[in-house]
């Protein structure tokens, strides 16, 4: 999965072996000469470029971050989310009832909404199951969480290096989605007319509705942050569209993951 597959990359990405060009110098000299670094925004961190044998620089220029299957699953979930959110919005507040028109009117929206929700869960959980190992919270992640405010203000000083494929913010997003989608699915079943709702008491259905609304709200905020973070962190969108990131992107955002995968593409 994490192995950079040469065949998926453009032919122009020929290995840099044997021609120690600027990119290779950058990999090794960042710490030594920060003033001449070509990327003023990237402040060098101890250990980041210390790769034995300069192995990373020898791989392909682009690194595979998400396989085609993962990307398809991600966008499947994304489409389901947009549809389920738009239809649910109509039920949430009369201000948004017009969104039901996008689903063929109120009754049809009410019929479709739960099915789209189930489709989301069905697409999400197998996809999430492939990612859970990379999302385990490590001790350093909690330090990252504490430094999150610095991170979102682009002050890299004091933000710990990211060890794995994801930073702590991404991991918390992952686990919150695991929890929130489960809550939405279970509470949604209690509310599902005409199949399941009649077998639950009025109180249970009211409680489920409250859980459903609050979870949906958390999910909206979470997905909002997720989408914005991907847009804000330049180079991330390509990871989920074309599947690849640049070496510099990987070094900057996920140095630990970079060291794991960069050399394997040869």
């Amino acid at each position: 999965m994490a192995t950079a597959d040469k065949s998926s990359l453009t032919p122009a990405d020929k290995p840099l072996t044997g021609s120690p060009g600027p990119a290779q110098r950058e990999a090794t000299s960042g710490e030594a000469s920060p003033l001449t670094s070509p990327e003023p925004l990237v402040k060098p961190r101890v250990g980041r470029a210390e790769v034995p044998g300069e192995a990373p620089a020898e791989g392909p220029r682009l690194l595979l971050r998400y396989s085609t299957g993962e990307r398809l699953a991600h966008w499947g979930v994304a489409i389901a989310y947009i549809l389920v959110f738009l239809s649910g919005l109509a039920l949430f507040h009369p201000f948004f009832f017009w969104t039901s028109a996008l689903f063929g009117g109120g009754p049809l929206m009410r019929i479709l909404h739960p099915f789209i929700g189930v489709a989301l869960a069905v697409l999400f959980y197998p996809y999430a199951a492939r990612l859970w190992r990379d999302n385990r919270m490590l001790p350093r992640d909690w330090a990252w969480v504490r430094a999150m405010f610095s991170y979102i203000n682009r002050r890299e000083a004091g933000v710990p290096e990211v060890e794995g494929k994801y930073n702590a913010g991404q991991k918390l997003m992952y686990w919150s989605m695991i929890a929130v989608i489960a809550a939405l699915l279970l509470s949604g079943i209690v509310l599902w007319q005409p199949y399941f709702a009649p077998s639950f008491s009025a109180t249970a259905r009211q409680a489920a509705a409250v859980v459903h609304v609050i979870s949906a709200f958390i999910m909206f905020v979470g997905i909002g942050i997720h989408v914005y973070a991907a847009y804000w962190t330049k180079g991330s969108m390509k990871a989920m569209t074309r599947g690849t990131v640049t070496r510099a992107w990987a070094r900057m955002h996920h140095p630990g993951w970079y060291r794991q995968v960069a050399g394997k593409g040869r």
Partner: protein
């Protein structure tokens, strides 16, 4: 299903004022349980006037038939055998919508105009706007609305809104042979109820009471209960009210706050980008610089 159009007190899932230019007299139906003989004429009259035909069911060991309210049975005589103060009492209750002044169904409804409350107090379902979510059923403290399996719309007693809008009494009231049912202004009905209470107390029903629960703001179907201290014996909740869950879930404040916060999240993203700027991708290959 209503013919009344310009005297609407409240409309479901509607943020702005409803057409309420006219103010009509607040009405009520009085059900004196002590006078009811359980003949079910009201049930038949309801079916007749509203063109409803329930499926033929089976006897479940009680006079209550059909066994429950349905989308085709908007009123139902319920029969209870209760041990009260050492003697067996055969209690009969004409069940159906109570037309709350503060209706939980209307509060819960997310479909604009699917449930309306007229200024005369009648709570009416407009099935053409119903989306079939069933929230009215979970919002009702009396467990009254029923979902049709045929069309997935909710149905219940209309208090014959089509009849009373043209000055007629509800069909059940018209047909009642013992005057257990009366219809008129709420004020008159409460006065009449007090009269009946005096009567009942003289006959030894010292705990007789009027059932006009204030937890839902009072109702437009009012009962005189001989055993008024035990409404549960008649299948009526002792203190019906709109629960805190429904209040939180459907309150205008919490939902608007939710919408506002969602907008705020979007605005925060724009502001953050403006203030902090993007986390630029470092350039990888100098020969490619400027292309990205």
């Amino acid at each position: 299903m209503a013919l009344q159009s310009l005297d609407i007190e409240r409309r479901s899932a509607t943020s702005t004022a409803s057409p309420m230019a006219r103010k009509t007299l607040e009405v009520a139906k009085l059900i004196d349980v002590s006078r009811c003989i359980g003949c079910k004429a009201c049930q038949s009259a309801c079916m007749e006037w509203n063109d409803l035909r329930d499926d033929v069911g089976v006897v479940a060991g009680s006079y209550t038939n059909p066994p429950d309210l349905t989308d085709q049975s908007w009123t139902l005589m319920r029969f209870y055998e209760e041990q009260i103060e050492g003697s067996l009492q055969w209690l009969i209750l004409k069940d159906g919508c109570l037309h709350c002044a503060d209706p939980g169904c209307l509060k819960a409804c997310p479909a604009p105009g699917a449930i309306v409350q007229y200024t005369n107090g009648v709570v009416d379902f407009h099935q053409e706007n119903c989306i079939g979510c069933g929230y009215c059923i979970s919002g009702c403290p009396f467990n009254i609305p029923r979902m049709s399996k045929r069309d997935n719309k909710a149905y219940k007693c209309t208090l014959c809104s089509d009849r009373i809008s043209v000055g007629l009494e509800p069909a059940c009231v018209k047909t009642c042979p013992t005057q257990a049912l009366s219809f008129g202004s709420k004020e008159d009905m409460l006065a009449q109820a007090e009269h009946r209470l005096t009567d009942l107390r003289e006959r030894g029903f010292t705990k007789a009471a009027v059932y006009d629960p204030q937890g839902v703001g009072g109702t437009h179907v009012v009962f005189v209960l001989p055993h008024g201290d035990k409404p549960e014996a008649y299948g009526l909740p002792k203190e019906p009210r709109i629960g805190p869950l429904l209040a939180v879930w459907r309150s205008w404040v919490s939902r608007s706050l939710g919408v506002f916060t969602m907008f705020a999240v979007v605005v925060a993203g724009v502001f953050h980008y403006m203030k902090v700027g993007p986390l630029e991708e470092p350039k990888d290959d100098p020969s490619k610089r400027g292309e990205d």
